[in-house]
Amino acid sequence: MGSGRARLQVADLAYTYEGRTPTRALDGVTVEVGDDEFLAIVGPVGCGKTTFVRIVAGFLPPTRGTALCDGRPVAGPSPERGYVFQEEAIFPWMTVRQNLEFGLLAKGVPAPAREPIVGELLGLIGLQGYERAYPAELSTGMSKMVEVARVLATDPTLLLLDEPFGPLDAQTRARMQEALHAVWAHRRRTVVLVTHDVEEALWLADRIVVFSPRPGRVRAEVRVDLPRPRTLETRLAPAFTALKRVVWRELGLGEGSRA
């Protein structure tokens, strides 16, 4: 898992937010993500992890360094790199179906061809029967899953998830992680997940990259060799706890209570 050629090659990436007091968000980040690999990026608040995925998505041009997706440099946003936002980005005036169809519409896929794709995605996120509902009628967690499915409709080679379950409560998060895991197991692809939640990263990812505080640099890489499919038992296994210790240590936490 996680082997094979690199889908995403990021080399020496740096980003500085201009302004009265320029802020260096990233400084010399080099990361490679293999084909079908699930990579998680964790780091303290403000470490530039969102800046990192936004550059990979093409929303921000890097100040220095390069980002190559399938060997080609990233130039602007593209459906090749599906992006799920931290904020709520589901279109509230569209029904679930219209949201799911949007990328296909942009690609010019005719209605008969859109039908089965939307049907499959609805099944994948367990929202059959809700296709005519408006997002206001869904829970926050479910509309996030619609956003994930919306991005999958056009079959991106890379899936970028920026704190997708950030504002959710712990139980809903866990449920959404399971839903995401199921979707990913069904439709394998390269994923970059940005999160501040170490458990989320461990439970979902093949590998974790730990960022240092601002300016963000790669502080450590942790391979997550937990068996799949991952379950509740995975969360409770000693190996999981051991990895958790490693990641927390790399984040510079856990040494504070020494007597």
Partner: protein
Amino acid sequence: MVTAAASAPVRRALVALVALALLYGVVSEIGSRVLPRRIWMATHYIEDVELTPRYASLAEEAVFLVRAGILQASVLVSSGRVLAGVLLGAAVGLPLGLAMGRAAGLESLLGPWVAFFRFTPAFALLPLYVLWFGFGEGPRVGLIATAVAIVTLHGAFEGARRIPRVYLDAAASLGAGRVLVLRRLVLPAALPSLVSSVRIATALAWVTIVVAELIKPAMPSLGYLLALAGAYPRVPTIVVAIATTGVLVLVSDVAVLVAYRWATRWMRRRVG
């Protein structure tokens, strides 16, 4: 769906109408007892006037105006002008406002013009319009259209500009082009703001038409009816004309409100 959306505004409008009519009834009963029936007007006394005509006089007057066909014709003509003015004004204001909201260059180009005309009362343009368009339909419809265009332009501009960045980013990363973004994002996102600006503009159109019809008043129109009744003076005619205009304002407001509720149905959580 539309009938369900319509019921609440219609009910509210009806309640308002009944309440107003009752209030007027009380006022007219008191007024007809305490107010003088002989008033001084410019150069002479007028005898036997009802300053606040009672229901009976109003009903009599209304029946006369309807039998003679004056009221219906006036309503038709004035409503026609309002409709033409609103459609024309919105047809100019809405697209221009949307374009300004989406294109920064256009905004800096047209912004000062809009600011200039925004607070210039449309009536200030009346003498100019009469000179430009003559005494026909031109200045009347033109005046309404101007007032409507300015209000709707502003609504469309605000609506198009306030669309959250994240939706545009999401659309871009899903591969949407300009046309799709305009049709599926900008337009629906701006729709509530668009419709509420049309609502304000429609009310404004009624204010404008009654005044606009006072220049070279011509039969049949509500403005003329008011001017004529004021010259006699025939107070019941004035009250009937005012009440008719009020009802028309209310009806057009309800129509726009129903459209608004339909346009924003996605905002409401359906129950059950």
